[in-house]
Symmetry: none
Subunit: 227 residues, 2 copies
């Protein structure tokens, strides 16, 4: 998921942007001043930064400078100042775009899409390994001892849902909801059938599953990492 950091001292703007971005499935974090913005970037590199120039502690321009000192993360400056000189300064200091308030939320979202399109955000690979088995979730690829194993779309969805909470128990209703959507929370027979085919393809002994474990009456669990 694309991670966006929004920096603005106005809580109303933070709220509006967060809501709109989250509605588009972005992962959003907010900062109300320059110091915490820099800290967040340091801890958890965003895919895009929306940066207001008027901040309470450090000047927005300085934040941009410091950002550029150690990263090339895309920055879109969002500012109330419409003076061309401000724009030129920010752009020449390394900002990727500049949009003046008030702005249309649609335009902002489009500009965010442009910058992320450019860096073509690579999802962190989600990979599960057990013995000689390798499940690459993001790639939808399963390999055991060099041998390619084919899983169907529904099987991948189930494996993915379990892998995202590896080691933890996933209730039947959650699994059903995640794979088939709302309204299927009681069709536990679907799970029985599909878990069976997954095990037939993946487990060494499908009748004594070690990787995809059943918690009777509750749900399923993917074998935790043996770290």
């Amino acid at each position: 998921m694309t991670f966006v950091l929004v920096v603005d001292d106005d809580p109303a703007i933070l709220r509006t942007l967060s809501i709109n971005l989250r509605a588009r499935d972005y992962d959003v974090e907010t900062a109300a001043d320059g110091r915490s913005a820099l800290q967040i970037v340091d801890e958890r590199m965003p895919d895009v930064v929306l940066l207001d120039l008027g901040l309470p502690d450090i000047d927005g321009i300085s934040v941009l400078k410091r950002l550029r000192a150690f990263t090339s993360v895309p920055v879109i400056v969002v500012s109330a100042r419409s003076d061309p000189d401000d724009k030129v300064e920010a752009l020449d200091l390394g900002a990727d775009d500049f949009i003046t308030k008030p702005f249309s939320i649609e335009e902002l979202l489009a500009r965010v899409r442009v910058t992320t399109r450019r860096s073509s955000v690579a999802e962190p690979a989600l990979v599960v390994t057990v013995d000689d088995l390798r499940l690459d979730i993001t790639e939808s690829r399963a390999v055991r001892a060099g041998e390619e194993i084919h899983l169907t779309p529904i099987e991948w969805k189930i494996v993915e849902t379990l892998a995202r909470r590896r080691g933890r128990l996933v209730r039947q209703s959650e699994l059903l909801h995640a794979v088939w959507g709302p309204g299927y929370e009681r069709q536990t027979n679907y799970l029985r059938v599909h878990l069976a085919s997954i095990r037939r393809k993946i487990e060494h002994d499908p009748s004594a599953p070690r990787i995809f474990v059943t918690e009777p009456g509750i749900g399923y669990r993917l074998l935790p990492e043996d770290s």
Copy 2:
């Protein structure tokens, strides 16, 4: 020297921009309509295109679309229309920036610097080779055993998108979004038809594809490098 193509139907604007850009040591060429703009791009790929939306012959949006069909040259749209919807449309169709008239010449120059700065961190030439086949993505050339193979614009876009993630799986919705833009994520039949023609031209045995592999229900994948 950086080569800029300025497209506008207003001679006064062409003149102003030319003068200002040349004063900054840019190599400038101008076009007063879409047709000649496309021709210039075809003959002598610019480093940046400044594109007005109101053109006498072809609509500026159409020019952008056709440009994007065979190149990824940076495009800054320069328009009198300030309607957010116009901006969103242009940006989603592949424009890199959008600036509304009247604008400060300094701001425009700064935005030109941003886009050239970005592309100067140039991408490596993207070439795919399989056996005696050679796909030169950036050049849009396909050759097998000295024999030139012709691919259409859409076919190139598909090949390019797959080549950029060579070996990795590209989901149908991603592919559709990359080639046709937002709103086409469900038209999987497009993919079926066009993948068929690509294979007919490229695969040794189109009925048993080795290079463009289908992952049923999920997407497509370009044969990884056998390194």
